[in-house]
């Protein structure tokens, strides 16, 4: 019998870490890269790419993050900065975790479309490890559409990065292979999005926390054929489930409420965040993650590539972000929105309140905010979380009653 996507997922994640370790042993070049960067440029030159954010999440999910947080805080890193960075800066020193390991880098590759913070973090790595720093700077889109000079600037940087990579590798750039990797990356993006969008069905065949699991892989395997094939398989499974009318959980467990989860998962507190939602029959049907790795452009269209990367939602204005979330509420029949006020991520946090107001005004659905963190286990409070979720349930129930009455 052929393997399920879940089985393959676990195998591929394990393989990702094993292959990286082996590559290092074999003397191949290793890059540490940010989670939504143009990895195509590295993959095309057969550079082994690992993702510190992913790695930090894996360490946190297995309850090992505190050791690394302690190490970096001991070196002077403030408890107020990004915990992915703190875990990674700790790992740079300790270089071993029972949870998962990544080989030390020969270069760092950073795209600041996800935040300014990653540029500071990678600048520190480049300085302390004395290795090349490749940066793709994607200016913040405070205007709805990126102006021409932004696209031109990013194109120049992609060309500059290619030269830097040629120098590091000591051989001419492989443009043919780049074409191939671009094609695969776009196919992966297509299947990733299509799979995530199966959650539009009522009930959703997809549990949002499963999406978080698959996300771990879409980060690190977007440019590889096995990644594309996995997401295609996952999508087919979900579409089959939806056709049979199956929900996210086992038989008999009803999807009572459908919500958007906004922000990064609390990797160090996954179990309570999931279980409390499930207890109330709440399924996370979507977030802006489906779009995060939906990097779509025509093969060999460098400007299109630049645009796709700069349009990551956290790099766009509130008009875009709030409107997109409101549209998701409508398209996915969402009953409420849960905002994770993530102590690690000021960029995602400091427009939450305005987004709440706009989404409720536009769609009428209730929203709540809870305090947490993606990898620092000390911030999240289960009691606060449950209280907020209960409040959301009450508001969603009220809305349902109103709708039912109006329908009569």
């Amino acid at each position: 019998m052929s393997k399920t996507s879940k089985e393959l997922l676990n195998e591929l994640v394990a393989k990702h870490y094993e292959d990286a370790a082996q590559a290092k042993k074999d003397g191949k070049l290793v890059a540490w890269a940010t989670s939504i960067c143009p990895q195509e440029l590295l993959e095309a030159m057969d550079i082994t790419v690992v993702y510190p954010e992913n790695h930090a999440a894996a360490i946190a999910a297995r309850k090992h993050s505190q050791e690394f947080l302690d190490q970096s805080e001991g070196c002077g890193y403030s408890i107020d900065i990004c915990s992915y960075a703190r875990v990674n800066m700790g790992y740079k020193d300790i270089q071993y975790s029972e949870a998962a390991n990544i080989p030390m880098p020969d270069m760092v590759f950073c795209c600041n479309n996800i935040c300014t913070t990653v540029a500071k973090w990678y600048e520190n790595l480049a300085t302390e490890l004395n290795i090349p720093f490749i940066l793709i700077d994607t200016p913040f889109n405070h205007i709805y559409d990126a102006p021409a000079h932004n696209i031109e600037y990013m194109r120049n940087q992609i060309e500059h990065a290619i030269h830097q990579i040629e120098e590091i590798c000591g051989r001419p750039y492989d443009y043919e292979r780049l074409t191939e990797v671009m094609k695969i990356s776009n196919e992966t993006a297509y299947w990733w999005r299509r799979a995530c969008f199966t959650a539009q069905a009522m009930p959703s065949p997809l549990s949002g926390f499963d999406m978080f699991n698959y996300m771990a892989l879409v980060v690190c395997i977007r440019g590889k054929k096995e990644g594309r094939d996995l997401f295609k398989l996952w999508c087919e499974e979900l579409e089959a489930k939806a056709a049979e009318g199956k929900g996210p959980w086992k038989e008999g467990e009803e999807e009572k409420y459908r919500v958007i989860w906004d922000g990064i998962a609390c990797w160090a507190n996954l179990s309570p965040t999931y279980k409390i939602l499930k207890k109330y029959g709440i399924n996370v049907v979507t977030s802006l993650y489906p779009d995060a790795w939906t990097i779509l452009y025509e093969t060999n269209d460098i400007e299109g590539m630049a645009k796709a990367y700069t349009y990551y939602h956290a790099n766009r204005n509130v008009d875009y972000v709030a409107a997109t979330k409101s549209q998701r509420v409508k398209d996915f029949n969402v009953d409420g929105v849960i905002f994770h006020s993530n102590r690690s991520c000021k960029l995602m946090d400091f427009t939450i309140y305005e987004q709440q107001r706009r989404i409720t005004a536009e769609t009428g659905v209730p929203t709540v905010v809870f305090d947490g963190d993606m990898t620092d286990p000390r911030i999240f409070s289960e009691a606060q979380y449950e209280t907020r979720i209960q409040a959301l349930v009450e508001m969603m129930e009220e809305n349902k009653k109103k709708k039912a009455q109006e329908g009569k």
């Binding site: 107020d80 900065i81 480049a126 302390e128 700077d137 102006p147 120049n156 500059h160």
Partner: protein, 375 residues
């Protein structure tokens, strides 16, 4: 009162009363003001339009209205600006310019449009990849976009000739400030830590044409006097700003003299000399592209640690004081790297975590006292 005391007192009063000072500057010059957020903004473009660029570096205010937009873990300078904006304190400004230099400022660019709609805002996004070809071209395009936005808001045409003139004035002001920091270091009694800070800060609320003459006068008067000995410890200050002011009072009490600084509000504004060649746009871009050791502009390898070590060596300072603004990510990211470098050189560090809403200074006083005694 001597000339120098008069000038120093004038600038101190201005720095301590920004709102009043801006109103007076506007009255004296007949200009209207445009607010400039930290850290960098193209002030020359504002000046060229016939407006008075004024600094917006927060203040001590209770947070009420801003709580509807920002969580508690937001940089206090920026949150205060939003608070004051909503309360109407900036209604007299023709516009504000907000540079998206950190994640918090990116969000402020967005929140300002909604929270303070009565004061039009113009965002500018500086390039971070300053070593890539194309960053100059990009920055020039940003400057030109800012000019167009300002023109649309104010209805004033801002010509290149006017920008050239403004740039020349600003280059002169920056040269004066570089000289001031050098000369002031030789007069630690006349220019103590608090006076040094206030004299530099006053420039944010005055027309630079007037301000630079006042500072020049102070320099000339200082030069007439015999050099002074520091009473206590000589330090280099680094961080975002040299405030709250109470901390500087404690410095003065304990004889701590700031002989050089790497503060964003102070020397980072004027330490980089403009390029002599090129168009006016290239010259302006050059100042950002050539700026080193500032955490708000990325580098391939961080140069701040080496820069601080050199500053200590060149000025005969005995320690580095870190004024760490709480919740300032970029500053917090730089600290562990330069801390390790300074420690390797055996340079003592006094780390002070500060924010603008601080009420109690007793803990800091004890730490500053024991640090001064230890050295």
């Amino acid at each position: 009162m001597s000339i120098i005391t008069k000038k120093i007192t004038k600038l101190e009063n201005i720095a301590l009363n920004p709102a009043k000072a801006v109103a007076e500057s506007c009255k004296e010059t007949g200009k209207e003001a445009v607010g400039c957020f930290p850290i960098y903004t193209p002030e020359e473009i504002v000046y060229a339009g016939g407006f008075l660029p004024v600094g917006m570096w927060g203040g001590k205010k209770e947070f009420k209205e801003s709580e509807a937009y920002l969580q508690g873990f937001c940089c206090s300078i920026i949150k205060t600006n939003v608070e004051l904006g909503i309360r109407g304190a900036y209604n007299h400004l023709k516009a504000v310019i907000i540079p998206a230099l950190c994640d918090t400022l990116k969000c402020i660019v967005e929140n300002w449009k909604i929270a303070v709609p009565q004061v039009p805002s113009v965002a500018i996004v500086y390039p971070q990849n300053r070593w890539a070809a194309g960053s100059q071209e990009y920055l020039i395009a940003e400057y030109k976009r800012v000019r167009s936005e300002l023109e649309k808001i104010t209805g004033v045409l801002i010509t290149e000739t006017a920008i050239e003139q403004a740039y020349e004035l600003y280059e002169e002001y920056r040269a004066v400030m570089r000289e001031f920091t050098e000369v002031a270091a030789k007069y630690p009694q006349t220019i103590d830590a608090k006076k040094r800070h206030l004299i530099i800060k006053a420039g944010y609320y005055m027309d630079k044409a007037v301000y630079k003459e006042d500072v020049k006068c102070i320099i000339e008067e200082l030069k007439k006097m015999p050099e002074e000995k520091a009473k206590g410890v000589k330090v280099v200050a680094t961080g975002l700003i040299g405030e709250p002011i109470e901390v500087l009072d404690i410095f003065v009490e304990n004889g701590i003299t700031v002989v050089a600084d790497d503060l964003a509000q102070e020397s980072r504004q004027f330490r980089t000399v403009g390029r002599p060649e090129g168009t006016i746009w290239e010259k302006m871009a050059g100042r950002i592209l050539d700026q080193r050791g500032c955490t708000f502009l990325a580098e391939q390898k961080k140069s701040r640690g080496d820069m601080l070590i050199n500053m200590v060596k060149n000025t005969g300072a005995e320690a580095v004081v870190v004024m760490m603004m709480k919740f300032c990510d970029p500053e917090e990211f730089d600290y562990p790297v330069y801390k390790a470098q300074l420690e390797k050189e055996g340079i003592p560090i006094l780390y002070l975590e500060v924010d603008q809403q601080m009420e109690s200074f007793e803990q800091l006083r004890t730490r500053i006292q024991s640090f001064a005694e230890m050295l």
